[in-house]
Amino acid sequence: MENKILRIENLNAYYGDNHVLKNINMEIYEKKITAVMGPSGCGKTTFIRCINRLHELTPNAKVEGKIFLRGKNIYEMHPVVVRQKIGMVFQRPNPFPTMSIYDNVIAGYKLNGIKLTREERDKIVKESLEKVGLWDEVKNFLFKRGTFLSGGQQQRLCIARAVAMNPEILLLDEPTSALDPIATRRIEELIVKLKETVTILLVTHNIAQAGRVSDYTAFFYMGEIIEFGTTEKMFTVPENKKTEEYLTGKFG
């Protein structure tokens, strides 16, 4: 039986007067990959930014509604705690330029003031980098800055940084849109591997990617959720006409 780890209830989000997300109701299954798809401006990025409460950091942003992580409303928790449990990887790789690769991986611990012994730190760094397949490539220069790595390597570093925190959910905001096809493939393979340990929400504008990688798909359009279901079903027999039009490339 598949568990539901996240329940979104009547979520509404605003930028000033702009009503960006309209009454979203959805459930996310644990340790599965859920793709969030839709044309530009449909609100998919805003959606996941509400889940790790990053949306409210933008000036003039407002959120209404509830999001339950294993039964607890994240809007009743402190944002810092929420973000420790729900990690994020961004569209453009953003390793911290003033820190080494090593420090980037454990940045979450350092920033949160969590004290670790040298052995604990080394272990976390090695495991996280191995998980993303970077360990062999960088093990000899862990203390160099991360910014000299290629785009694909930088993005894997950012994923390592996020998984090092052992989050319950990993939010990926179009993580391969800035990368070349080979790097994209590697990261897609990595995402599939990662779902064994963490629930993944993948925002993507690449329909084929969603089809390749995800177990479930949510289709957003103009701030509303149009359809949600298993990827297999949605891509073969979508229920909603809009979904079908999007998937066949009629718009977006």
Binding site: L54, L111, N112
Partner: protein, 315 residues
């Protein structure tokens, strides 16, 4: 028919020549202005050096280690003023750091644009527009009595004027410089890496401390350097509140003098060639130090803004 045709050709040719001559003349004129600027600045340096020579020849390096400034018997040691300048510049920089950093952080990380941030920016920078002599006047009649009260309370000689007062006035005057640069470099910190920090669960303070400030470090330091350079050469406000004593001050609450203030006070009365030359030698030092600090500081800032625009391209 033929004649008038060739006449008009001649006419056309001389018109073209005139135009070309005019263009060449203008370009040469512009070039000469560039040359003029070079001559101007070189002459400034040359004048200072030439007029310092008598003093350099007479005292050599001991000019800056000599502690006695005695115009009467011709012994000129600039140590009291060198110390005065260094003490006030360093002290004022130290005082200004927390305030200048705070307003930079407030505007770029907490208020982030909009009307309020523009207003705060203007308020910070407006002080730089108030003439130094007016700030000195205020310092003399408002700050000095306050310092006097403080000194009475701590139980030391209530001069009111002195190194401490001068440092406070200087700090007020130099804050706009480092605050404005600090604000600019902090607002250049890419939103993505700040969000990366927040997404890992860091608080705002932790993001500022561990991500924004390290990123903007060299720019912020360059701003402080420029502030220091400004304090180093400031004359009028310091002259009016420093107490004008030519002895090495034994504490920061005693009167002193800076190189700039002793020149302002004594140059018009300087009689002998050696006296004048000694004062000018200090002016030369002021010129050289200000130049080096400013050029270096601006170079660092320029390099930072170039790195920003180049670094935005990822492989």
């Amino acid at each position: 028919m033929m004649e008038s045709h060739s006449l008009s050709n001649n006419h056309k040719r001389s018109l073209k020549d005139n135009v070309e001559r005019g263009e060449r003349f203008f370009r040469a004129f512009l070039l000469s202005l560039g040359v003029f600027m070079i001559l101007l600045v070189s002459s400034v340096l040359l004048t200072l050096v030439l007029n310092s020579l008598p003093s350099i020849k007479e005292f050599g390096l001991s000019f800056f280690t000599g502690a006695t400034w005695n115009p009467v018997n011709g012994k000129f040691g600039a140590l009291p003023f060198l110390m005065g300048t260094l003490l006030t510049s360093i002290l004022s920089l130290l005082i200004s750091v927390p305030f200048s950093l705070s307003i930079s952080i407030l505007i770029s990380d907490y208020i982030k644009g909009g009307l309020l941030s523009s207003i705060l920016q203007i308020f910070t920078e407006l002080i730089a527009g108030i003439p130094s002599v007016v700030i000195g006047l205020w310092g003399l009649f408002v700050l000095v009595p306050l310092v006097r009260k403080l000194e009475t309370k701590i139980g030391i000689t209530p001069y009111g004027v002195g190194i401490f007062t001068a440092s406070i006035i200087l700090a007020i005057m130099i804050i706009p410089y480092s605050a404005s640069i600090g604000r600019e470099v902090l607002s250049l910190v890419p939103k993505e890496i700040k969000e990366g920090g927040f997404s890992l669960g860091a608080t705002k303070f932790e993001v500022i401390k561990n991500i924004s400030l390290p990123y903007a470090k060299s720019g912020i330091l360059a701003g402080f350097l420029l502030s220091f350079g400004r304090a180093f050469g400031e004359t009028m406000a310091v002259t009016m509140v420093i107490g004008n004593s030519n002895k090495i001050p034994k504490s920061i609450f005693m009167p002193g003098n800076t190189m700039a203030s002793v020149i302002a006070n004594e140059f018009a009365e300087a009689t002998t060639k050696l006296y004048i030359s000694s004062l000018i030698e200090m002016a030369l030092l002021l010129f050289l130090v200000s130049t080096v600090i400013n050029i270096f500081g601006r170079y660092v800032i320029k390099r930072l803004s170039n790195e920003e625009t180049e670094g935005k391209n990822l492989s």
